[in-house]
């Protein structure tokens, strides 16, 4: 990190000075300025009191984005992963992916700091996630070892993501409260999409064009 140059010192001082001048009319000590704002509670999806209601709502909302969603019991996970991957797919895996996940992947390629171009030559990626948000159909990755670096969940065109029923929270405020902002976070709601042509949503631009979410549910309905 370079030392701050003279121009930078004066830019910083000048901007902060301008702000203080601009705010001369404002009561800085008012409670509205000092206390964090408490937002209204998030949605409580129908049946949210029961884990199964939450899982169903989550699955419905993920599917709304035209992602594939399947639910399986814990002992069916290996098979569910195998079924999610096309035959012969070369699949990058994060270093901390559990063994029962790996068992479903015929040819796993462990990520050892692969270059972007190497990732681009692979077909799919299998990761876990930090949590799922039912109301918005979102999965959030915090890129710990069971999810791997940000690049591996991005460059391959097919993302298989495993979420456990007890990782699903009702709405955004519940997610914010559980996530560590110091981790890099990737919130994913469906496959890559764009509305840039006539505001018509179409799936598939730069991120994975196929998103396959497997919900591991000890008590599937």
């Amino acid at each position: 990190m370079s030392a701050r140059t003279g121009a930078q010192t004066s830019a910083r001082a000048e901007i902060l000075g301008r702000i203080r001048t601009a705010l001369l009319d404002v009561d800085r000590d008012a409670e509205s300025a000092t206390a964090p704002i408490v937002a209204p509670p998030g949605a409580r999806p129908p049946g949210a009191d029961h884990p199964d209601g939450l899982v169903a709502h989550f699955a419905e909302r993920v599917a709304d984005y035209r992602a594939t969603v399947v639910r399986c019991p814990p002992d069916g996970l290996t098979a569910a992963i195998a079924a999610a991957l096309p035959a012969g797919a070369r699949v990058v895996v994060p270093p901390g992916l559990p063994d029962d996940h790996l068992a479903g992947i015929p040819t796993p390629v462990p990520d050892s700091g692969l270059a972007a171009s190497e990732l681009d030559a692979l077909d799919a990626v299998v990761t876990r996630c930090r949590l799922g948000i039912a109301e918005t159909g979102t999965i959030v990755l915090d890129h710990t070892p069971d999810q791997g670096r940000r690049a591996i969940a991005l460059v391959p065109d097919h993302h298989v993501c495993i979420v456990h029923a007890d990782q699903i929270v009702p709405d955004v405020p519940d997610a914010i409260a559980r996530l560590d902002p110091h981790r890099p976070l990737t919130w994913i709601s469906g496959p890559s999409a764009t509305s840039d042509i006539e505001l018509d949503r179409v799936e598939g631009v730069h991120g994975p064009r196929r998103l396959h979410v497997i919900v591991v549910d000890p008590d599937p309905a």
Binding site: T136, R150, I176, P181, P184, I197, E198, V205, G207
Partner: protein
């Protein structure tokens, strides 16, 4: 291929040109119709939407009311996590910082995440002038850049283009700057999106430096947030070695927890989705993951000017969702170019004068580019009372001309009105003239006026105007004692 808004005519004249473009009218009516319906559906799902708007507004307001303290905290948090913080007073200073960072690393191309602020400061043009190529990677920005065009919408800069036009631009231009469009390119949106994917992939894979903006910058954690749809943002934020983010100082959110209402409000207001496909957050440098050199440029460029206006400062709450554009009946018909700025529509009509100051004819025309219908305020997720600020800025425009030696006819007319409205007797005498005209016209059987000369033509060129009545209400009341006498 760069284009700027420099030298644009004032709004009424630019609007007249735009109104005559039938393709534009059709494209806009279709696109705004689609997005209005989508927004209404997902906003309707949220039971406590109004409370959520209040919370969103309060968070941004709280950030602004102690902006200096929050920025200092943001700087500390970022620095502690390995980011380098720069401060830029204006566009030129910000551009110089980015150019210097690229040059020092012998970088001759950068990939860009869609960012309003880099358009505002003309970063692409500044990079080009220094021999550094800037590749826009958002689909709509790519369409605008390849088309040598100007953005016309905050969220969807190519909203003025339809699929056939986009196909033509891709076919003609992609090959000149990289991988050409496939020969069998159709105008299906999915096919066009696929062509953009192929064209940009080689640029993502080789780029050493990326430039982004940020939707939010969280002071207490030092976290930057980018909200997007396509994954081009993730590519830029993840693959290059160096990441430079230019962040307007008003983007600060005091605490991580206060991000919550904004993340609930933004996607529903913006693309009409419960959540946008991708949101990326990063806090400084993450060892062995993503860019290992992270720079943040905190930009003023007129924001402190806007902050110093107690009525206008609410515009700095804006989270660039573009809901106000989508619901605006003026924008729907004129499109964004008529506003002569990267910030078009109702928010542009207040933000540009607040950032730049009034005084030139183009900027001064913007606060008048509205009927004050209030649809924008109703849709704004952070409750910016745009009509209130429009009226406030109109007064600023008028006040700047109070000392003119030769007052405008409009100013004289309003002085006359002020005199007449000061006392009912004066108004009565003025109205006597219109009743006389009414009697003369109606005696000849005229109930409406045809085309009038002079300033009246602005009304009567396309609209009838009723002939004045033969008797005002006031005169009727006096004559009949309020209708008690025949």
């Amino acid at each position: 291929m760069s284009a700027t808004f420099v030298g644009m005519p004032a709004f009424p004249s630019a609007a007249r040109t735009a109104l005559g473009n039938t393709q534009l009218r059709h494209n806009l009516a279709h696109a705004t119709g689609v997005i209005r319906a989508k927004r209404a559906a997902v906003v309707g799902e949220v039971e406590n939407w109004e409370e959520l708007r209040l919370a969103g507004a309060a968070v941004k307001e709280r950030a602004l009311r102690s902006l200096d303290a929050h920025l200092v905290q943001l700087e500390e948090s970022l620095t502690a996590r390995g980011a380098v913080v720069h401060w830029a007073r204006d566009a030129a200073e910000a551009n110089r910082i980015v150019v210097d960072l690229a040059r020092a690393r012998e970088i001759d191309e950068v990939v860009k995440v869609k960012s309003m602020v880099t358009q505002e400061i003309g970063l692409n043009e500044a990079l080009e002038a220094s021999g550094i190529a800037a590749w826009e990677t958002d689909l709509a920005e790519l369409i605008v850049q390849l088309g040598g065009d100007l953005p016309s919408h905050i969220l969807v800069p190519a909203i003025h283009r339809n699929r056939a036009e986009i196909r033509e631009i891709f076919t003609r231009r992609m090959g000149e700057v990289g991988r050409p469009a496939p020969d069998d390119l159709t105008d299906e949106p999915a096919v066009l999106a696929g062509a953009a994917r192929e064209h940009l992939r080689e640029k993502f894979l080789r780029a050493r430096m990326a430039v982004s903006g940020a939707n939010f910058a969280v002071a207490d954690s030092g976290t930057l947030v980018v909200v997007e749809s396509e994954g081009n943002g993730r590519m830029c934020l993840t693959l290059p070695e160096v990441l430079v983010s230019i962040v307007g100082i008003e983007k600060v959110v005091p605490t991580w927890a206060e991000l919550d209402p904004l993340l609930r409000l933004l996607p529903r207001s913006s693309t009409g989705e419960r959540m946008n496909p991708y949101t990326s957050t990063w806090t400084g440098v993450v060892p062995d993951d993503g860019p290992q050199e992270v720079h943040v440029v905190l930009l003023d460029n007129g924001r402190t000017r806007a902050l110093g206006d107690p009525t206008g400062r609410q515009a700095l709450r804006c989270i660039r969702c573009s809901a106000c554009l989508n619901v605006c009946p003026v924008y729907e018909r004129t499109g964004g170019h008529a506003y002569g700025s990267v910030y078009p529509g109702p928010i542009g009509a207040i933000l540009n004068p607040l950032l730049r100051g009034t005084g030139d004819p183009q900027t001064d025309s913007l606060p008048y580019a509205s009927t004050l219908c209030g649809a924008c305020f109703e849709a704004c997720p952070v409750r910016i009372d745009i009509p209130e600020v429009l009226v406030h800025l109109r007064a600023e425009v008028v006040d700047a001309h109070r000392a003119d030696r030769l007052p405008k006819p409009e100013a004289l007319a309003f002085r006359g009105a002020a005199w007449a409205f000061g006392h009912a007797q004066r108004l009565d005498r003025t109205e006597w003239l219109s009743s006389l005209a009414g009697r003369l016209l109606r005696r000849r059987g005229r109930t409406s006026l045809g085309r009038l000369p002079g300033p009246g033509a602005a009304w009567t060129d396309a609209r009838d105007l009723p002939a004045p009545p033969t008797e005002t209400f006031r005169a009727w009341w006096r004559r009949t004692d309020g209708g008690e006498r025949p």
